[in-house]
Homo-oligomer: 252 residues x 2
Amino acid sequence: MRIGELAALVGVTTRTVRHYHHLGLLPEPERTPGGYRDYRLRDAVLLTRVRRLAELGLSLDEIRDVLADDQDRDLREVLTDLDADLAHQQDAIAARRARLAVLLAEADLNLDTTVAPDLGDLLHDIHPAGSAFAALDRDMLSLIDTGADTAAREQIMAMIQPLTASDVRGRGHALTARMDAIAGADPSDPRVAALAAEFAAHLPTEMAAAMVASLEQSETSHWLGLMTSELAPAQVKVLCLMVTTLKERACS
Amino acid sequence: MRIGELAALVGVTTRTVRHYHHLGLLPEPERTPGGYRDYRLRDAVLLTRVRRLAELGLSLDEIRDVLADDQDRDLREVLTDLDADLAHQQDAIAARRARLAVLLAEADLNLDTTVAPDLGDLLHDIHPAGSAFAALDRDMLSLIDTGADTAAREQIMAMIQPLTASDVRGRGHALTARMDAIAGADPSDPRVAALAAEFAAHLPTEMAAAMVASLEQSETSHWLGLMTSELAPAQVKVLCLMVTTLKERACS
DNA sequence: GCTTGACCTTGACGTAACGTCAACGTCTCT
DNA sequence: AGAGACGTTGACGTTACGTCAAGGTCAAGC
C-alpha cells in the first residue's frame, strides 16, 4: 500500500499520515526501491487507533504518551480527565448560547448598548444627546457594568436609583449642559462654584448619602481617578466642591 | 492610562491589547513624550466591546468585520450563525462523551480491542494465540469494523455469524495452524490443495453461500486485495482453490 | 524512447490568538 | 545615580495539520 491508499482507507489526508510519522505516532514503514513508503495492513490498524483517540479529543502529545507506556490504568485516567474537560466545555457553550439568546431576543443589537438596558435608558434620559460629559458618564457606567464585581455593581446601581425620579431627569439635562460649558473655563471661574452648589442641592438625599459612604471605599477612588483624568480642571473642581458640600451636610 | 492599567481594567494581558492594535481591532491611542501608549476611558470601552464579542466565540476577523460596517443587521446574522455553530459543537461533544462513556464502562480498555466486543471474542475463539494468520484476520476485521460503511459492516458480521457455532470453533484452531505452516511452502505443495479442500468442507453452508455472493461486489475485491497482499503465495492459493470449490458447489 | 499524468518525496511557510523571551528605553523612588 | 517596575518593538513557539514548491517515480500510451 502506498500512502494515498492508506490515507483513503482510514479517512485522513496523506499530510496527516506524514505528520504522525514526524511526531512518532506511527512507525515509518519500509520503503520501496523508488523511495515510496510501503504500508502493510498493520499500519492501517495503528493509524486507525491513533485517529480514534484523536477524535475523542486527545492531543497528539497525549496520544503518544498513552501509546508509549500503553498502560490501561493511564488511559482510563486520561479519558476520565477528558470527560470532565468535555463537561466543562459543554457548560461553557451552554452559557455562551444563553448569553446569545438574550442578545438575539433584544430588539436592538446596537453595540453601544453595552450597558444594561435599564441603565442605558436612564443615561439617555438624564443626559442630553451630544454631550461630552454624558459620553464620559456612559463610558464609566459601561465599564463598571462589565468590569466591577457583582457587589460593587449592585452598589452603584442602588446609588443612582434615585435618579430615575422624573423630576430629577429634567434638571439633569440643564446641569449636564452647564458642565460641558465650563470645560474650557478656569477653575476659579464663578460658574464653577455655582454649578457645584446646584449639583449638591439637586442631588436626591439618599443618593448623596450613598455617594459619601462609597467615597470611603478604596475601589471607589480607583474609578474616580479614571473619571477625573478625563475631565477639565474646572469640571474636576465642580465635583470636588460638590463632594465637600455633601460631606458637610452628612456630618451635620 | 498606560497599557498595563488598561489591560488590568478590562481583564486581559498587555499582549492581547497590542495584538488587537496590530489587527486594527482597537485604534492606537496617542503616545506620551516617552513613547508610551496613553489610553483614555473610551479605549477601555472599545476594548471591552471587542472582548465581549470574542468571548461569545467570534473570531477576531469576524469581530473586525462586524465593527467595521457596524450594521445591526449583519451582527444579528453573524450571531445567529454562531448559535447554530455552537449547537453543532454541543452535539459533537455530547457524541464524544457518549463514546467515552462506552469506553469507560468497559472493563478492559486494552487498545487492541479496537474491534467490537463480540467480534473480538469470536476471533479469540477461532484462532489460536500467536498465529500470524490470526493476526492478519484480526487486523482485517478491525479495519472493516471502523472503515467500512454500516451496510457493508453488517453484511460481514452476518456472514461470519455461523462461525460462532461451537463445533466450528474447535476445527478453526487446527486449520489456522496449518495455514501458518504453509506460509513458506511452494504453491504447488500438496498440502495447499488439501487445506483448501478442508476449508471448503468445514465452512458452514450459509457462510459459504454468503461468501460467494459477496465476491460479486466490487468493494469486496478491494478488501480481498488488501488481505492477499499480506499472504504468502501458497496461502493465497489455498484461498483461491477454496473459493473455486465454493463457487462450483453453489452452481450445482 | 518519449511524454503525460497520477502519485510520491522533502522542505518550508501559513493558520488563530495570543504566550513568551530578548534587548532595550522610560519612569519613579530612594 | 542605581534599582525595580513598567513600557517599546521584534520575533519565535504553540496545535494539527493545509498548502504550495520543486522535483523524483511509475505505469500507460504514442
